[in-house]
């Protein structure tokens, strides 16, 4: 029998944090081969939809999470920063793969040596490229971080 009178108690903090983790929409920011693994993570076999984040938004205004998937060139750096600035708070960044974390194998003039020079990074996912499981582990690590952190940053 359906009863509308059921209640449960929680704190606002917990409810907010929970709601943030369970519908975290990533902005489409695939730059290189890591993007292929990111797409694989979004497709049927690994299925990011399980975490409420299958909708990769093309507009930064609708996104909460930026997965920087691939190497960032010096020319791309201002674009990346602008997309990050256009995202609404609260927002998070995952640096996916060796290149976006540190510059990776491309230690030269053309590439940014780690995306943390431009935007604050919450989680670094190692690998070249990281597989979908690694990326999902990174995402779950971010979820843990949000669940354990403050709601206003």
């Amino acid at each position: 029998m359906y009863s509308p009178d059921n209640i449960f108690t929680t704190t606002i903090d917990k409810a907010v944090r929970w709601s943030r983790t369970q519908s975290m929409w990533p902005v489409t920011f695939g730059l290189a081969c890591c993007a292929i693994e990111m797409m694989a993570a979004g497709s049927a076999k690994y299925d990011l939809a399980r975490y409420g984040m299958e909708v990769f938004r093309a507009s930064p205004r609708q996104a909460d999470l930026m997965i920087v998937a691939g190497r960032v060139s010096q020319k791309m750096a201002p674009v990346l920063r602008q997309v990050y600035d256009q995202m609404a708070e609260p927002k998070w960044v995952i640096a996916m793969g060796a290149c976006s974390s540190t510059g990776g194998m491309f230690n030269n003039y053309a590439l940014v040596q780690g995306v943390d020079h431009i935007v604050p990074v919450d989680v670094y996912v190692p690998g070249c490229p990281p597989g979908p499981q690694s990326l999902m582990h990174g995402i779950l690590t971010l979820h843990d971080k949000i669940m354990a952190g403050e709601i206003n940053r």
Binding site: Q74, K75, N107, Y109, A110, Q113
Partner: protein, 136 residues
């Protein structure tokens, strides 16, 4: 084998036009070589042409004057050369006369220097783990 033809800068445009008229319809590639400390003059522009009708290829090499660093543009003959010439300008700093829009194509517009020159550093940043103690 591809036939290689060395031409002078002042004949370059005319020779390309002649080859185009002879049936080399397609410009496959346009690039440059930096012979830093190996040859004089330093730069050489290389053009690869293909004739689909005759099934022949031809490579044109033109030496660039060190002082002017200028070569005539061939965009009026092969419009496809546009981006190639911009890339050579971006990477080597060779100027192309009468090019419609000679601006940087790969690097940011305010970039200083020409990255593919031999005296341009690779811009490496020393990495900590390089000197880490070895584990046997």
């Amino acid at each position: 084998m591809t036939e290689v033809q060395h031409v002078d800068v002042k004949d370059y445009h005319q020779d390309i036009q002649t080859l185009f008229n002879e049936g080399y319809e397609m410009m496959v590639d346009l690039t440059a070589v930096d012979w830093f400390r190996k040859k004089e003059p330093r730069f050489e522009v290389v053009v690869n042409l293909l004739s689909l009708s005759k099934n022949k290829r031809k490579t044109i090499k033109v030496k660039v004057d060190d002082k002017t660093l200028t070569v005539p543009s061939i965009t009026d003959i092969y419009p496809g050369a546009n981006f190639y010439e911009r890339e050579v300008f971006d990477m080597f700093g060779i100027l192309f006369e009468n090019h419609p829009e000679l601006t940087r194509i790969l690097m940011p517009d305010d970039w200083i220097g020409y990255p593919l020159r031999k005296d341009y550093g690779s811009g490496r940043i020393p990495v900590q783990f390089k000197n880490a103690p070895k584990v046997d």
